[in-house]
Amino acid sequence: MPDPRIQIGAIAPPDTDIAGITAAPALPTPPVSARSGRPSDRQARSGLSATLDRIAPTRDERLFLVLSIFIGVISGTLVVAFRIAIEWIRLLTLGSAPHGGQYRLLIAPSVAGLIVAALVIWFFPAARGSGVNQTKAALYIYDGYISFRTVIGKFLTSALAIGSGHSLGPEDPSLQIGAGVASIIARNLNLSRRRLRMFAPIGAAAGLAAAFNAPISAILFVIEEVIGSWSAAVLGSLVLSAISSVVVARWFWGPEPLFRIPSITVRDPRELMAYAVLGVFGGLLAPVFSLILGYLRPRLRALPRWTLFLQPAVAGVLVGAIGFFGFPQVMGTGYDVIDQALHGQFVWQILLALVFLKMLATTLSFSSGTPGGMFAPTLFIGAMLGGAVGAFEKHFFPHLTGTVGAYSLVGMGVLFAGFLRVPLTSVFMVLEVSGNYSIVMPIILANTLAFLISRSLQPVGIFETFTQQDGLDLPSMEEQREEAVLHIEDALQPATVPLVTGSDTLQRVAQTIAETHASAFLVRLIDGSWYAMSADELTSASATLTPEAPIQRALQPDRTPLLFPDMPLDSALHYFPRWPLLPVLNRASRGTLEGMLTLDDVLRRYRGGE
């Protein structure tokens, strides 16, 4: 038997997912220990971590990087398999060339909806809902826990739903599959809780990168929407896993971007006006889409329990009906339709019709609880909107606008920024999938406009709306990104306490303190370091040393921490129990004092005072 103190898997209990249909949880039911957070589990985990820290203190750190590569490779492989599964199911259910008037367009999504509903309710309850929010929940609530069953369930149910024509995308499930793979691997290697938590976003980045064939966008999305902040500790692993997964995906799919992008150039700076119009339309459309989803989803979930078995099937019939009556383009991922729009194969009237029909189809599919993601529909709607605006402008102002394909491309980014509220990702996503940096200006302009307009019209982002509807309180990444972080310079005060050097005698220092009535003072030492001494400490030292002794002989071996004005203010807080005050130094000139901090100064700043 292995040593019980390092029993692998001792923390994570067996998968204990429960259906919970009446509560309709959209997020994975966590392991009992993680959900309850019982002190005994926490203590066991802490004890194990302490043991591992002692016998192998750098193990976590090294495994973290190695496992990131494994996670990337496995996630990439699984995402490729997932995409192939979707395509196979699509061929088997909808045929190789679905077109209006085929009854299979009605039958396939509805029958698949019934099967998916049964699978989700009876076997894979955690497969329902947004993979992004589930990954965030794993990170913030469940210590990085995503069950193996969830991964399998997400794979099967999403592939079946999307392949049979439900208007959903594979990226969101891919993200969750990646996060799940990471969670399983990390749990089985018994990493520390902190590391365990960070693995879910690393896997998410890998899954998304493989799905988009765009590593930078995936990393940025995870940082923007899942982690919420840039962290050097996790960035390396994110990059490793995303790159590994993309290498695998490209080994299979080839180096080409997700879409075949026609040659695009911006002919005239005045064309930016046309792109700005697109940004405005995108900014107006995104909140409409959010509102429809936000309205229908909770109402369908509030219906009696038995209807949950039928909702995906009914949604399937309705989506199929859209296809049956002449718009099969809205069914499934719609990648090929995006490709056609990028190559100007539709007139603007058709493109506009596809915008609204896809919104309707996606709202029905997603709100019915059918597993699948919002990324591909968002790209689809954006591409159609862009194409419609571009084709319209080109028709009426032929000298002002460039290719229609360029507008479709920018349109994808516009809705990504406006609807998913990830402005940085939206820019890089378009650049990565197009491989064309000459269009960066229109993208930035249109995306920024869409983002600002959308946010002003609909302050709550779509992911936040879903988490609120699910009764969870996950951090809003949009707010977190824009939250003003206080720095030391915000609470910095001029050094008003006495400053002495290490060679000054105790007698002289004592005299200075007596004259100034200071309760503490700063000592500068010959090596440029500082020491903050209280008057009481000086009194104690005076009792054991002669008055002529230099003050440095009275100092403890430690020194005040190196603090600089640009550091986060909270980084200073935990030093105050030890030091009465803290010197703040200049980064450019070693040992040079910029000012000082006291606990009162810090607290006053946090309370809002100056």
């Binding site: 040593d3 002692r54 495994l63 061929l91 190789s96 060339a97 194969q345 539709f346």
Partner: protein
């Protein structure tokens, strides 16, 4: 991997635990590697079968689309080619799809599609040609001419030489349809200059030159063909027709005679043969009437007098039918009155200037009476043809 801090002093129990941890981690990583490898192989198998199936589907839909397109079912071809593109994207299929859209009358969609293709390859001859056709269909002449010219200057897959000539001829047809004969003539002259020694091509160009009101160039091409050992009957007919139109009746008669004597002449449509016969008869009669310079002086004099008689009768008839003769006709009558009566061929033989002036009077009479009294008939009609370009009658 499990490692030990340099400064850490471990108890024997901890060292044992550390060894077990190292073994466990190694085992975990090896297991992970094996799982990855197995997963990869399974995915690879799945991917290969999927890729092969996609390629089969792409090829199948492309073939169906092309068959439908060539069979004149562009609507079906559109769906098929779109499906083909979804499985195996290719530029050729895109162009075929856009062509199907154009053939199906979806001009706007086809234009948008071709424009997008053009923006990525502005020098592509096929795309420019299709855009030119769409613009022509849309009545946008400037765009049509721009794209026709771009197609001529562009790149072509396969035999660009032939494709460019076809484009040039298509451009010429477009210009002829718009009655812009001068630029059409220019294009046809270039096409003729670069044309290979292929009777069918030369015949096509010559036919277009005729339509572009350039019968002389057309005749040149026809005659280059009639000089061959086994000239095409169409070339003989074309040469006869254009020569007849140009008043070159000797050439016309010769060519038309050969056309009717050609082995394939019997297979020609009856109405076509009748036309050829009519032209040949007219040409032969003209040559019989015309006082050619290579005739013996006596014979020529006889012909001049014969023409004089025909023209005089025509003038008399015309003047009698018009109660108020116009001043020009009166002037003509005056010229006739001044003419010496009772002239004989020997007298004319002695007075070549008189012969010349009589001949000129005949031509003037036929021309003026045709203007005053309407189109003549019979020999007068033939004389009228000669009168338009008397010098051409005997050109070789």
């Amino acid at each position: 991997m499990a490692t030990v801090h340099a400064g850490a002093i471990l108890t024997p129990e901890e060292r044992l635990a550390r060894r077990r941890l190292i073994l466990r981690d190694a085992f975990s990583l090896i297991s992970l590697f094996l799982i990855t490898a197995i997963l990869f192989i399974l995915t690879l198998l799945l991917f290969r079968s999927f890729t092969n199936h996609r390629e089969e589907l792409g090829a199948r839909w492309k073939t169906r689309g092309e068959i439908a397109l060539h069979a004149g079912h562009p609507e079906i071809a559109i769906d098929d080619l779109r499906s083909a593109l979804a499985y195996v994207p290719s530029r050729d299929t895109e162009i075929e799809l856009a062509s199907a859209l154009a053939d199906a009358g979806k001009t706007q969609e086809a234009t948008v599609y071709f424009t997008t293709l053009w923006e990525s390859a502005p020098g592509d001859g096929t795309i420019n040609l299709q855009l030119a056709r769409l613009a022509a269909k849309d009545g946008n002449e400037s765009q049509a001419l721009f794209h026709y010219q771009s197609a001529l200057d562009g790149t072509w897959q396969g035999n660009g030489y032939d494709r460019r000539r076809e484009v040039r001829l298509e451009l010429a047809r477009y210009l002829i349809a718009r009655r812009e004969y001068i630029p059409a003539h220019t294009q046809l002259v270039i096409a003729a200059g670069n044309a290979p020694d292929d009777p069918a091509i030369k015949l096509e160009i010559a036919g277009l030159l005729e339509q572009a009101a350039a019968p002389r160039d057309a005749l040149g091409l026809y005659r280059s063909l009639t000089a061959r050992a086994d000239p095409p009957i169409a070339a003989l007919e074309g040469a006869g027709r254009t020569a007849f139109a140009l008043g070159m009746f000797r050439i016309a008669a010769e060519s038309l005679r050969r056309a009717l004597a050609a082995p394939l002449a019997t297979q020609q449509p009856d109405n076509e043969k009748a036309t050829v016969h009519e032209m040949l008869d007219a040409s032969q009669r003209i040559l019989a009437l015309y006082p050619a310079f290579d005739l013996p002086p006596r014979s020529r004099g006889e012909r001049v007098l014969s023409l004089k008689r025909i023209a005089r009768e025509r003038l008399t008839e015309c003047a009698g039918s018009s109660p108020a003769a116009p001043p020009r006709l009166a002037s003509l009558v005056s010229r006739w009155d001044q003419l010496q009566s009772g002239l004989t061929p020997p007298e004319l033989e002695q007075q070549p200037e008189l012969e010349q002036s009589i001949t000129q009077l005949v031509w003037d009479t036929e021309t003026l009476t045709a203007q005053v009294c309407g189109a003549p008939a019979g020999d007068d009609a033939l004389l009228m043809r000669i009168a338009q370009n008397p010098a051409a009658v005997e050109q070789e």
